[in-house]
């Protein structure tokens, strides 16, 4: 299980994190079969490893996931795929479909969840399973997704399920905090923060290991429900809101007790429109790549402990960074750049780069072995060239490589010797670094 940074290291008591405490992750849900059993699964796992994926959130009892009671073999393959990536699962007991106020239904659900934990211990052993995360329910505050529970209803369910999990998992935990969490709260709903506050205040601290919150920038198409009809305006407005990831991260971090309860952004992406084609225009384009990279930088600044992109593998869902044949989207490369050059434990040398324009977001990172990298996110559709020495106050070392993905590279990254200037054609992400990661050295053909 990951450990939460102490207050002095993270942003709980300071204006900005001094180290990267972000673990990278993805959700593997609707297209789980391609991820677990599809013919290109091993390439998918390879690509997830290249994104330094440490946590993979999987769903039970929703999203067409295999039923662990009746389809144990399928469920096992789902979990094994996570382990094959080298990640740990966050098993989400998404919902039940019986009356929410019926105590028998709650007891039945809790027992079902407990049996999954017991079965996992039996299958994979306590050494492994005690590292896993268990998320109780998904978006309980949303009528659409989670059934629109009251907090009181959710609290009852959470306590029941958490006790059922602890019953089996407890003996293997020792002094560790139970890696159980919720409420996986939907961030578009008014008063969403009340759920986080009450979750922390009203539940037994021994049953809370992480707080999970979700955030998308928008769910409306151009012109829909008050959104700007001009695409450029809509995109610019969404892009401006990536800073909201930082502010929400801080809001959540502030209410967490000063213990090792983790602050987890459990679902995020640019857009969550109800039609895949619409959201794909935002999520699976260069716009989505720049949005995602900027969101990641803000999550790092906000001191978040883990993020889980919605989603990893995707068959026509309009979210994922990998198609069933493992073909990446632009966001895949943007994420990979962030994950490779802003690693857990790295020092944040500059939280932002000296630039007066809103069009650029960036950070300077120092890592192990003298690695020094400037990450630049160009957040505008126009082409721009940046004097990196000026942006970083001359803190980028000599003999660097420029790696980038933008309108010029297409869905790929290119690497070349850095000449002092980074030019980005349209939305894009660039890294200037003195230590190039293996995946960026290897031939493009292998990766595209």
């Amino acid at each position: 299980m990951i450990q939460r940074h102490t207050a002095s290291e993270s942003t709980l008591n300071s204006s900005a994190a001094t180290k990267v405490c972000l673990r990278y992750g993805v959700n593997e849900t609707d297209s789980w079969w391609h991820f677990a059993l599809g013919p290109e699964r091993e390439r998918i796992w390879q690509r997830l490893r290249a994104m330094r994926t440490q946590i993979i959130r999987i769903f039970l009892f929703d999203k067409g996931a295999p039923d662990p009671i009746t389809e144990w073999k399928l469920f096992k393959s789902y979990v094994d795929a996570v382990l094959a990536v080298g990640a740990v699962p966050m098993v989400t007991f998404a919902k039940f479909h019986r009356p929410l106020n019926d105590p028998r239904a709650i007891r039945w659900f809790a027992e079902k969840c407990g049996e999954v934990v017991w079965s996992c211990l039996d299958e994979w052993g306590e050494e492994r399973v005690r590292e896993w995360y268990w998320c109780i329910w998904n978006e309980p505050n949303s009528d659409w997704i989670g059934g629109g529970l009251s907090f009181e209803q959710y609290r009852d369910i959470y306590e029941r399920v958490a006790h059922a999990i602890v019953r089996w998992l407890g003996p293997s935990l020792g002094s560790r905090r139970a890696p159980i969490g919720g409420p996986a709260v939907e961030g578009f709903q008014p008063f969403w923060m009340d759920w986080v506050q009450r979750f922390v205040d009203e539940l037994d601290p021994a049953l809370v290991g992480f707080v999970n919150w979700h955030r998308y920038a928008d769910w409306r198409d151009h012109g829909e429900n008050g959104a700007p009809s001009n695409p450029a305006t809509h995109e610019a407005m969404m892009m401006w809101q990536t800073a909201d990831y930082q502010s929400r991260a801080r809001s959540v971090g502030r209410v967490l007790p000063e213990t090792d309860v983790l602050n987890v952004c459990g679902e995020w992406n640019a857009h969550s429109h109800y039609l895949p084609l619409v959201r794909a225009r935002f999520n699976q384009t260069q716009f989505g790549a720049a949005f995602g990279a900027s969101a990641l930088l803000h999550l790092i600044r906000g001191g978040v402990d883990a993020e889980m992109l919605w989603t990893g593998t995707d068959e026509s869902c309009g979210y994922g960074v990998l198609k069933p044949n493992s073909q990446p989207t632009p966001l895949y490369y943007a994420r990979r750049l962030c994950a490779q050059y802003a690693r857990y434990g790295d020092e944040i040398a500059l939280h932002s780069l000296d630039n007066n324009a809103n069009g650029l977001d960036g950070m300077l990172i120092r890592g192990a072995g003298g690695r020094c990298s400037a990450i630049l996110v160009h957040r505008e559709p126009a082409t721009a060239s940046y004097d990196v020495a000026e942006l970083t106050r001359d803190r980028v070392p000599d003999k660097c490589t420029l790696i980038k993905t933008d309108g010029e590279t297409g869905t790929a990254v290119t690497a070349k010797t850095f000449d002092g200037t980074a030019t980005l054609v349209g939305y894009g992400v660039a890294v200037i670094t003195n230590v190039v990661a293996g995946c960026d050295v290897e031939s493009e053909a292998d990766w595209v």
Binding site: P190, R198, D201, S247, S251
Partner: protein, 438 residues
């Protein structure tokens, strides 16, 4: 049930900083305008407004509950004169016209009406006075309750038409000053409210925006309604935890308007906007409301807000006012008076994290241009608490006087010499000052 965190623990833990307070204090005078302008206690109200350093009073035109400047100019004149008598500047809000909003003739007619009002004001009070006034175009255009069907595009069209009409009359008097026209007086309970501000700032010529106005209340629901907690303690604790939202909103809006010379004003604030007195009175007009408001003020100062306009001044029996129809002040009035005594516009301020032992406190220290120093200290816990000043402020021995209200004395300010400690009986607001004068 697990151990609960106190309100203060939820509110505090924030970075320290030194700055100058840019916060202009103000209020709204709306439904209680008659008491404010014509009532038997108007002189008393005027004194109250001066005592709480009121610099801006937001008043309303073209709405159902305030005098119509077209048909009842004398009443409107009294409304404005009451503002001037209090030594404040009016912010005149051109509230609305009735739907349909997209009719070009209606927009022209409304803009013309607004322009006529500006012209009339110049005639009445003189251009060199009126040029410093604020003009707010519309009220909560994003609220489907009050303005169903009003889109940003239509609002923007209305704004531009009105702004040009205002400029037509006021331009000759500006002498290089920026015209103080603003909007959109946004309701921040609405989803995507930030879109309106973003577009307002990005799609409007900078020279036509003097300020952006936004509204924020702690709550609008009654306990148990619309997902609100039923249990009173939880309900109140959640509301109190939301004072932090003022800092978040100010900071976000500062980022939006950075470098544009636009003022950032919280145009309405209070603990609860619920229309029923039985719900909101006990939250707004009690020591709870006093503490909520003072905490919000500290967050607004810290975020660099340029103004705040409390909702509202004269209550006339409603659950929002700083005083009732008999001009009897509420605890919130006394809290604002203490806050404005401690922190004046332009004062150097330090808002620091309290020591670990004082997590029930929220505090700002100030140094005035005359060198006097004060500390405004809000007690956020409903428990009793006693605190050592030396743990919280620099040079504690310099402080001569402590004034406070708390749950034991919510409407009576207790003053006494400073003995180095501050004690609260539950929720409270106190100031420690180096000067004896009130």
């Amino acid at each position: 049930m697990s151990q609960r965190k106190t309100w203060s623990e939820l509110l505090l833990r924030q970075p320290a900083g030194v700055d100058r307070s840019r916060l202009r204090y103000g209020i709204n005078e709306a439904t209680g305008w008659h008491d404010f302008a014509n009532g038997s206690h108007q002189d008393q109200i005027s004194e109250y407004l001066r005592a709480i350093q009121t610099q801006i009073v937001r008043i309303y035109a073209f709405d159902s509950w305030t005098p119509n400047p077209v048909s009842d100019w004398p009443a409107f004149t009294r409304y404005v004169n009451a503002v001037l008598k209090a030594g404040a500047t009016p912010m005149i809000t051109f509230v609305r016209f009735r739907p349909p909003f997209g009719n070009p003739r209606m927009i022209q007619w409304f803009a013309q009406r607004c322009g006529d009002l500006v012209w009339s004001c110049i005639e009445q009070w003189g251009g060199h006075v009126v040029r410093d006034w604020y003009w707010c175009v519309w009220n909560e255009p994003n609220s489907s309750w009050t303005n169903p069907g009003l889109t940003f595009e239509l609002y923007h069209q209305i704004y531009l038409e009105v702004a040009h009409k205002i400029l037509r009359w006021i331009s000759p008097y500006l002498d290089g000053r920026r015209v103080l026209i603003g909007g959109p007086a946004i309701d921040t309970f609405q989803p995507f409210w930030m879109d309106w501000l973003w577009r307002f700032v990005h799609e409007t010529d900078n020279s036509l925006i003097g300020f952006v106005l936004w509204h924020q209340f702690g709550e609008w629901r009654a306990p148990r309604d619309w997902g609100a907690p039923q249990e009173p303690m939880i309900y109140r604790r959640l509301i109190m935890s939301r004072t932090r939202v003022y800092l978040e909103h100010v900071t976000t809006i500062q980022r939006l308007i950075a470098g544009r010379g636009i003022l950032n004003i919280c145009g309405r604030l209070n603990a609860n906007s619920h229309h029923e007195a039985r719900i909101s009175c006990q939250l707004n007009q009690t020591i709870f409301g006093a503490v909520f408001y003072t905490a919000a003020l500290i967050h607004l100062m810290r975020g660099g807000a340029d103004g705040e306009l409390y909702w509202m001044g004269s209550g006339a029996g409603n659950p929002y006012g700083l005083w009732d129809e008999q001009a009897r002040p509420t605890p919130t009035y006394h809290a604002k008076r203490l806050a404005t005594q401690a922190v004046r516009y332009g004062d150097e301020i330090v808002i620091d994290d309290p020591p670990a032992a004082s997590r029930d406190l929220l505090m700002v220290q100030t140094r005035g241009i005359d060198g006097s120093r004060s500390a405004l200290i809000v007690h956020l816990s409903d428990r009793k608490g006693q605190y050592c000043l030396a743990d919280m402020v620099t040079n504690p021995r310099d402080y001569a006087i402590i004034r406070k209200i708390d749950s034991d004395s919510p409407t009576q300010v207790i003053a006494g010499p400073c003995d180095g400690t501050i004690a609260y009986n539950g929720l409270g607001v106190a100031i420690a000052t180096t000067t004896v004068a009130d």
